[in-house]
């Protein structure tokens, strides 16, 4: 049988950044291989323009053209991508992406700029249960980004500074406004930045640990989304789980931030094959 490689693109439109990947599959939509990734911060630019730039960039990295892509799949705010073929919801995409990065994962913590959620999945990445943080932004990446800006600390230094903390100062885990007020008070009291940041990581982590506990999550838990690469946050999650004697083990991956985009690209390949089969079946039926 003639075997043809299938290429798909996954675009994760977040509120803060666009994550785009291109993947390669065999003719059955299996054995996915990541060819290229691109992360583009929106930074008050026109989102649609950033999406186009990111897509072009990732195609050129993979040495492909638009005509080579069999299925463009989106997740997040997918309606911003006019040229999409299909859209998959963030839970569906993140769970698939996380299992691609680590097949042993059975729960996921996805911390985006505006929302955080916990998912429990099976070995096929089917979402079995989920919980989301409620309205308040104090459990989100955007909050942490705001605080790092107030403290005058580059975002990439936040994790290391938090790890150096010896006496973390706790902040409100209920309300972003109260938490920001807490931080202002701490700064005026001369609390070291590391202790403030560790306190924030613990406060955010506690909310997420509660979500995982309510889902009875156990085993490998992957952290995805923008905070996955923040060492301080991951260390705080480990510390909290240990204190709470939870039977979970947190893991991340250097590509964790692309979990949504990877997941949606994989589902795109799956749908491409399924639609192709349906089309063949339908023409066979028509042909008698």
């Amino acid at each position: 049988m003639w075997l043809k490689t299938i290429y798909t693109a996954g675009i994760d439109v977040g509120s803060n950044s666009i994550k785009t990947v291109v993947m390669e599959f065999d003719n059955n939509g299996k054995n996915g291989k990541l060819l290229a990734t691109d992360l583009n911060k929106i930074r008050k630019r026109d989102t649609k323009q950033v999406i186009s730039q990111s897509y072009e960039h990732v195609l050129s990295k993979a040495e492909l053209t638009t005509g080579d892509i069999a299925y463009i799949a989106t997740t997040g705010e997918g309606e911003m991508v006019d040229f999409r073929r299909g859209h998959f919801y963030s839970m569906t995409s993140h769970s698939r992406g996380a299992l691609f990065l680590n097949p042993d994962v059975r729960a996921i913590i996805d911390v985006g700029a505006l929302h955080a959620k916990a998912l429990v999945v099976d070995s096929r990445s089917k979402v079995l249960a989920y919980k989301m943080t409620s309205q308040c932004a104090s459990g989100s990446g955007q909050f942490l980004e705001n605080i790092s800006r107030y403290l005058g600390i580059p975002l990439e230094d936040v994790g290391d500074l938090s790890m150096q903390s010896t006496s973390p100062e706790m902040v409100s885990g209920i309300c972003a406004v109260l938490a920001e007020t807490d931080v202002i008070n701490m700064v005026s009291r001369g609390i070291p930045a590391g202790d403030i940041l560790k306190g924030i990581h613990l406060s955010m982590g506690r909310r997420l640990i509660n979500l995982l506990r309510s889902l009875n999550a156990s085993g490998e838990v992957m952290i995805t989304g923008g905070l996955a690469n923040n060492k301080g946050f991951v260390a705080a999650m480990h510390e909290l789980a240990e204190n709470e004697k939870m039977n979970v083990c947190f893991c991340t991956h250097k590509l964790s931030v692309f979990a949504g985009a990877i997941g949606t690209a994989i589902w795109g390949a799956f749908r491409h094959v399924k639609l192709r089969e349906q089309s063949i079946q339908s023409s066979e039926e028509k042909g008698g």
Partner: protein, 386 residues
């Protein structure tokens, strides 16, 4: 007109809660206009008397309710509040009458309020037959129709004869045929007729004179088949429960953006209530009554003599080759919400997946609904066979 221009015109009519179009029509034709609430009224009778039938579907999310809330308890749906608000803010002054078809107790009470509050207006509560025997329900309904026809003749100082009524019936038959053509086109090529566009086109039926409306639909059909629109990998769904209080336009867009092709629905149901043609005969009143008794859709607000709840919905799903059903009902809508468990039971028997939510005509936040319907779409696309 291009598709864009047609939809823009429909959107203007949709936003026209002051009924400027109706006022202009009355001025131009030196005639009168009769308003009606959802779901179904025999518009042919109004048209035959030379008047303009005007659908009043509440005010959606276009009007802030200031006084309307004072008339209803908090556990009552939204459409009567906004309809009262339209009335007391003088936006319905251009209407010479209002018809309140039997839908539920709330609409019946609303008709009583209109009678008390707007004394210069002709107000009629239309009782539909609950018995579908020609000699019982049929005779009763014919009497209702004759009374209304006589009332309309009197209001507009005209003599409506058999030919007038048959002419109107013919125009509405043509209109229903074009609507069916439009729905068939959408079912076959959902990407060519987005749900939001179809909804706006259907909303135009509330005000446009029937010949103008039919011509507009024909123009849309001929234009949209030439449009180049992206093919999406969406699931095909039937949306049901939206027959009275209409969903906000943004909700329909949100459903589509969440990965659904709406391939059948029950919004603006009055325009599709009669299935097929009403016979042109020597007794057009009898023909209208016969059409109601024997050739109408099944919906929660219509008495179901067979008690086979859900059978019509299943037929809709199969005919439209839908992969699932979205139950969208207005909050506190007794007919839709009471019927829902029986319909869901019928779907369970057929293994047809569904999801359910509630809305209000002025709902402004759709994130949760989008998550829900989007995840529903994913579950069908990815796990449909497992």
């Amino acid at each position: 007109m291009s598709v864009k221009q047609i939809i823009k015109k429909c959107e203007q009519l949709y936003n026209d809660i002051d009924l400027f179009y109706v006022q202009e029509w009355k001025e131009k034709h030196k005639s009168r206009a009769i308003g009606f609430m959802p779901v179904y009224v025999p518009r042919e009778l109004i048209h035959a008397a030379g008047m303009l039938p005007v659908g009043i579907m509440g005010a959606g999310d276009l009007l802030e309710i200031i006084k309307g809330d004072a008339y209803f308890q908090s556990y009552i749906c939204h459409i009567p509040r906004s309809t009262i608000e339209l009335g007391i803010s003088n936006r319905l002054d251009c209407l010479d009458g209002m018809l309140f078809p039997a839908i539920c107790d709330v609409i019946r009470n609303l008709s009583g309020m209109f009678k008390l509050m707007f004394k210069d207006m002709y107000v009629k509560y239309i009782d539909f037959p609950q018995n579908f025997l020609k000699t019982l329900g049929g005779n009763f309904y014919q009497h209702e129709l004759r009374t209304m026809s006589d009332d309309f003749s009197q209001i507009n100082n005209v003599d409506v004869n058999r030919d007038d009524l048959n002419r109107s019936i013919k125009l509405y038959n043509e209109n229903r045929a074009v609507i069916k053509e439009l729905y068939d086109l959408r079912s076959q090529n959902p990407h060519l007729v987005p749900g939001s566009e179809l909804y706006l086109l259907m909303r135009a039926s509330n005000v446009l004179e029937i010949t103008e409306y039919t011509a507009l639909l024909r123009e849309y059909i001929s234009e949209t088949v030439c449009e180049k629109r992206p093919q999406r990998d969406n699931i095909r769904v039937v949306v049901t429960g939206v027959f009275c209080e209409q969903p906000p336009l943004a909700l329909i867009r949100a459903l589509e953006n969440s990965g659904c092709f709406i391939v059948d629905d029950d919004w603006m149901l009055g325009a599709r209530f009669i299935l097929g043609d009403v016979a042109l005969s020597n007794d057009p009143i009898n023909a209208l009554a016969d059409a109601y008794l024997n050739h109408t859709v099944c919906t929660a607000s219509k008495y179901d003599q067979d008690g086979n709840k859900g059978a019509f919905l299943i037929e809709q799903v199969k005919k439209a080759k839908a992969e699932g059903v979205i139950f969208a009902a207005p909050s506190f809508c007794d007919p839709a919400l009471l019927e829902r468990p029986m319909q869901q039971k019928a779907l369970n028997r057929e293994n047809i997946p569904y999801t359910s939510f509630k809305y209000s005509e002025n709902t402004g936040q759709f994130q949760v609904i989008k998550e829900q319907t989007g995840t529903f779409a994913d579950s069908i696309k990815l796990w449909g066979d497992s």
